[in-house]
Symmetry: C2
Subunit: 324 residues, 2 copies
């Protein structure tokens, strides 16, 4: 039986920390990702690839500002669409190189619905783009209505809302391609946010968390597994302490207890664990959090005590009710 | 019976001459295009939308240069991929607004194969991006291997090759979506050029003419009609002279005679007529050249003397053999 996985790669997986983010660097990084995805395909999985776009959309935002005098700047959601083009093509070409003879690849733009009444719009918190002086920041708030924060020491920076994904507009197209045996690259950067003002749809300047977008997509597709690729092998308890230990398998109830206890901070593993839990609570068989190199082994792992693979988050098996 | 049309819009149709190319301007222009496409859909046509990207990729190239000190610049083919994201999303949102309740839309990135031995690479002629001083131009040739031309009076500018499209890599995905009843937006800017060096595929810094790309796609899809949207109602003979007259219908042999006689210059109608002829010579029923507003009437026109519609290019009906 064919199994379906939605695999989410970080934008940092393509432009790694410490790198400038040149095309050559990104191509090399993408090759590693493509090899891991190809391994899944060859093992018979149907795969949808979702990717982040943090460093790339940040770079575009810098270029838009520096080019302002000469060229009109585009809204943030349009920059997001550009990164879906840029990175969708990068990943597709990387896959063509590794397994283009055996597998077909389609990179599809996706628009993701957000609710304009989402409380996230009342407290924009996601920093985006270049740093400005206090004066320039105040001017941008006045001229463009941007929310700015003072990022201690580094300057003033635009912040946008990070609303919940409410559904992929192009879900039928994604399903159609997947059913035809295509690897689908989509939902880049969490997808292009769209919302409805009155009866009219338009792009929305916001950033949808790409792991939550991937979880939403996996749910809509009725996928078996959500794979969240990170820079660390596995989720850890007591991270950085002497009692630090890796988690091979945990159920959603355990994961929620650890989240409530503050084990997974918001800036690092927190959103990933929350996205993983959400997918499983809505009916998914498992979510996996691990590095690209360990995805195959983690998906195949049958030994819950196996300390050489990543982390699997699974449904509660006892009488505990799953909450949605 | 369902008929299929590949409809090519100019990049200038989205960022019109005299406009700065802001998002609001492009959204307004896209709304007009979407209305014309929607008319075709409602008349029962299956539609693939191809779009140009000249002004948009030019603007991105300017921003890349102005941001160079702070952010690594991407290769031209990657900028092309970005415009497929930007404009694919723009057109999709415009279509969602006009007919999102009746029709489904999918914007797919496309890679188009070019032959690295194409003679076009020996004489790069397509100008792209910003103007530079003579010194800066020489430096760019040295540092990045760019071919530069001296554009009399305006400065030095990069030129790239415009090779022939040899096939859409994602043709199966496009067909799959079309068969599922989706409007497919793809091949933007002529598609992202890819070529094979040895056994390895990679992006190629070149620009594929979007009308030739549309003709290639229409052929690969076995479409009925290729529609090339322009700023003028119809193809004219003796353009600008007192004997100027519009052409309602002409066959490919007549079109080739007019091309040979220099009736359609390279800088304006020439490439469109050539692309139109090529599609019909390879088996297409008709190519249409007209404005967005006249597409519907031109496709339905049965009167060859009708002077109120655009131009139809059709196969030769006599014993003359069609050449390929």
């Amino acid at each position: 039986m064919t199994r379906t996985a939605v695999v989410a790669l970080g934008g940092n997986a393509l432009a790694a920390e410490g790198q400038r983010g040149t095309y050559d660097e990104q191509r090399t990084n993408a090759a590693g990702m493509a090899a891991a995805i190809c391994e899944l395909l060859d093992a018979g999985w149907r795969v949808v690839v979702v990717h982040g776009n943090g460093p790339q959309v940040g770079n575009l935002a810098v270029q838009q500002e520096l080019g302002r005098g000469e060229v009109p700047e585009m809204p943030l959601f349009s920059l997001g669409a550009m990164t879906e083009g840029q990175l969708g093509s990068l990943i597709a070409i990387a896959l063509y190189r590794v397994c283009g003879r055996r597998h077909r690849i389609a990179a599809l733009l996706s628009h993701v619905i957000v609710d304009l009444d989402d409380p996230a719009f009342d407290r924009p918190s996601k920093p985006i783009g270049p740093f400005f002086s206090a004066e320039a920041g105040a001017e941008l708030t006045h001229a463009r209505g941007w929310d700015m924060v003072d990022d201690a020491g580094r300057g003033h920076r635009r912040v946008v809302a990070s609303p919940e994904p409410k559904g992929f507009v192009e879900i039928d197209a994604i399903r159609c391609l997947l059913d035809a045996g295509q690897v689908v690259v989509t939902g880049g950067g969490g997808g292009i946010p769209v919302g409805r003002r009155g009866d009219v749809w338009d792009g929305v300047d916001a950033v949808i968390d790409k792991d939550f977008a991937a979880a939403e997509l996996a749910h809509q597709l009725d996928a078996d597994t959500l794979v969240l690729i990170t820079a660390v092998d596995a989720v850890q308890l007591d991270f950085g302490l002497q009692t630090q230990r890796r988690l091979a398998v945990l159920d959603t109830a355990e994961a929620e207890r650890h989240l409530a206890a503050g084990q997974f901070p918001d800036g690092s593993m927190g959103p990933k664990v929350r996205a993983a839990v959400r997918f499983v609570q809505r009916g998914g068989q498992a979510s996996v959090i691990t590095t690209a190199g360990l995805v195959g082994a983690t998906l195949d792992s049958t030994d819950p005590a196996d300390q050489s693979t990543g982390t699997r988050i699974v449904p509660v098996t006892s009488g505990e009710a799953a909450t949605i």
